[in-house]
């Protein structure tokens, strides 16, 4: 029983998140306090969920891509493009708050994200290019495209309707949480209640074998890249609507790295073949909590990077088979003082 608990894939991520939250609770006792004011819930925990929403979304898409042994470096650029397109269209409109205009803008942004995801997927399956390189193209060019859309400037919009996506609240909770929950449920249902999840895992562990056993690898891979593009597109809408502006230069910068980090912390291996959506969500929450914690203790926010570096390294080392073995070896020899002697006699 005890062993099972340790072996569960969510054990380490949850422990880490709990440790972080516990530290926060000790440091500031009202960290967990949530108050209801004017029909909205306020509190650090709600903030973590709200600000973490775009990252969770991107990371969910990334999880599926990584499960097929791929990687999508272009998500940060897609985040920027989607926000830029939506804001640009709204800012051109006569009545910025009109529902039809906002819906058209959202549709255009998400449609473009789908196309960009399709482009990535096509490069990976159709042209047979390594995922890391195929998506590198859009990562470099995409940032330029986003700047082209915004003409290198920060486009601000004043649209109550559009702002609702990022700042509005539904049933006392931020609306963005519902968007994330919706996508998470869709992704879980599609992958765990249909055979799609199995297909993704089989393509990730061995594309050739799965092709031979009748799985259309190319369709599966195409689908995950499109889904990842869509997730990044929605994240771009959340981000840009939260600040009512689009910045082609800085929106979604380094999102790909944070998203990959969240996936890896969540226990999904970069070697593909297995994925844990809940692990990813917890991974993204860990990153967001870490950022909040660092802000709260008053350490300069720039130090976040150093802490992040050590977290990445620690997580990867724990997951590394070679590292664990070397630890075990060292631990064992410590309990066995005469080992050297025995080895020498025996040989």
């Amino acid at each position: 029983m005890k062993n099972q608990l340790f072996k569960h894939h969510l054990f380490w991520p949850v422990t880490m998140l709990a440790a972080l939250l516990l530290f926060n609770l000790i440091y500031s006792p009202d960290f967990f306090k949530i108050v209801l004011r004017e029909g909205h819930l306020y509190g650090s925990l709600i903030d973590i969920l709200n600000f973490g929403a775009p990252l969770i979304l991107v990371a969910i898409g990334m999880t599926l891509v990584i499960a097929t042994k791929g990687i999508d470096l272009s998500v940060g650029s897609i985040v920027a493009i989607s926000g830029a397109v939506a804001c640009m269209m709204i800012s051109k409109g006569a009545d910025q708050s009109s529902l039809s205009l906002v819906l058209t803008a959202i549709a255009a942004a998400l449609g473009l994200s789908l196309v960009l995801g399709l482009w990535n997927g096509f490069l990976v399956t159709g042209a047979g290019i390594q995922p890391i390189i195929a998506t590198l193209i859009l990562m470099v060019a995409g940032r330029g495209i986003a700047q082209l859309v915004t003409s290198g400037q920060i486009i601000t919009v004043s649209s109550d309707t559009y702002e609702y996506i990022g700042t509005g609240s539904l049933a006392t909770l931020p609306f963005s949480i519902f968007v994330v929950a919706f996508m998470l449920i869709i992704a879980s249902l599609l992958t765990r209640r249909t055979a799609l999840g199995l297909f993704i895992e089989s393509v990730g562990s061995n594309p050739k074998a799965s092709l031979l056993s009748g799985v259309r690898s190319s369709v599966v891979i195409l689908a995950v890249y499109i889904f990842c593009g869509l997730c990044a597109g929605i994240a771009g809408l959340l981000l840009s609507s939260n600040v009512s502006s689009a910045d082609g230069n800085n929106a979604g910068l380094w999102y790909e790295l944070d998203a990959i980090l969240a996936v890896v912390i969540g226990g999904t291996s970069l070697n593909g073949g297995r994925f844990y959506l809940m692990g990813t969500v917890i991974g993204a929450l860990i990153i967001q909590t870490l950022t909040t914690t660092i802000y709260m203790i008053g350490v300069p926010p720039e130090i976040t990077l150093v802490v992040k570096a050590f977290v990445v390294l620690a997580v990867c080392l724990v997951q590394s088979e070679a590292f664990r073995q070397s630890l075990v070896r060292r631990w064992k020899t410590r309990h066995y003082p005469g080992e050297k002697e025995v080895v020498r006699r025996a040989s």
């Binding site: 990687i71 042209a127 047979g128 290019i129 390594q130 890391i132 390189i133 195929a134 590198l136 193209i137 859009l138 990562m139 470099v140 060019a141 995409g142 940032r143 330029g144 495209i145 700047q147 082209l148 003409s151 290198g152 082609g248 790295l257 990959i260 980090l261 890896v264 970069l270 300069p300 720039e302 130090i303 976040t304 990077l305 150093v306 802490v307 992040k308 570096a309 050590f310 990445v312 390294l313 990867c316 080392l317 590394s320 088979e321 070679a322 590292f323 070397s326």
Partner: protein, 323 residues
């Protein structure tokens, strides 16, 4: 067959560079001069040095995302030691070079011994180096040390009324040394073998562990050297220096014809890959009306074309072997 197929990507890179330069010369007055050509070197010397280190890493089948951050860290450490503590540059420069190499060595060792993907380890290295910059200082540290300003301002005159800087000299020496190392030493051959197939290299009895760690050490050293050159160029240390440079570097290596899967590529290709990026920027600045983001879009397009070209070439090779 007159021409070995393995040289095709490099020749395409060179031809593209020549073509772009000629096109620019016809279009803009004052473009066709030795100085414009030399300025490509002057403005991109740090990128050349970084890209050389990156070429070795990519040839061995890995990737190094930490280069930009290591450059920033180098400028920051140099600036704070020279400016705030008053250390002589003679001590500081070797010190930062050693620091960069050790940084690379540690990453290489973690990659090799704990079998973690280079992507993740160097990503952590990127965060760490960038973060350490901010630990030193959040603001820019301007350098007014006599040695640094002297080196920055020294112009080496060339025939044809043009000049280059000392940084260019360093970059050219690095390129020459790298070509020698890659093609005429045991280490270079092992790097190619490692990129071709690590398993085979191991079975052939090649020193895989040592070479793999050395490759990252070399890349760390090159980044630190590029950081020193960058310090000459900017005369300041700042945590936001060279943000996103790792992408430019990887793009230059790929445009230069090096296969990202490892084992195939040339240092000379990388050199022209950097120059192509420089030409694009020069053309955009000569054009005047084009904005800087077109650079990114064009580089993205070029990346696409080159990756596709390599794909076609390697696919043809595979079919000829089968036949």
């Amino acid at each position: 067959m007159l021409l070995n197929r393995k040289y095709v990507p490099v020749l395409v890179t060179f031809a593209l560079f020549a073509l772009m330069f000629i096109a620019g010369s016809f279009r803009y007055t004052g473009f066709f001069s030795l100085q414009v050509l030399m300025n490509l070197l002057v403005d991109n010397s740090f990128l050349i040095i970084t890209a050389v280190g990156m070429t070795f890493v990519i040839l061995s089948g890995g990737i190094d995302l930490s280069v930009g951050s290591v450059i920033a860290l180098t400028t920051m450490v140099s600036a704070s030691l020279v400016q705030n503590l008053g250390w002589p540059p003679v001590v500081v420069i070797p010190l930062v070079l050693v620091m960069g190499s050790v940084f690379g060595y540690i990453m290489g060792a973690i990659i090799h011994y704990f079998k973690i993907q280079p992507f993740i380890v160097t990503l952590a290295g990127m965060f760490l180096a960038r973060g350490l910059c901010y630990v030193i200082s959040i603001n820019t540290i301007t350098i007014d040390n006599a040695f640094y300003t002297k080196v920055a301002q020294t112009k080496i005159p060339l025939p044809g009324n043009s000049f280059i800087s000392i940084s260019v000299l360093i970059a050219l020496i690095v390129v020459a040394a790298a070509i020698y190392i890659a093609h005429y030493t045991r280490f270079g051959r092992t790097v190619y073998a490692l990129g071709g197939s690590e398993q085979s290299a191991l079975l052939m009895g090649l020193p895989v562990a040592q070479t793999k760690i050395m490759v990252y050490t070399l890349s760390g050293f090159c980044s630190a050297l590029a950081g020193v050159v960058f310090t000459f160029y900017m005369l300041s240390g700042y945590g936001l220096h060279a943000v996103g440079l790792e992408l430019d570097t990887i793009a230059a290596v790929v445009i230069g014809g090096t296969l990202l899967t490892g084992g195939v590529g040339f240092i000379a290709g990388t050199f022209f890959g950097v120059l192509i990026q420089g030409v694009i920027q020069t053309i955009i600045s000569f054009e005047g009306t084009l904005s800087s983001w077109w650079t990114k879009i064009v580089i993205g397009l070029l990346l696409f074309v080159f990756i596709l070209l390599q794909r076609v070439l390697s696919a043809r090779k595979a079919t000829t072997i089968k036949a």
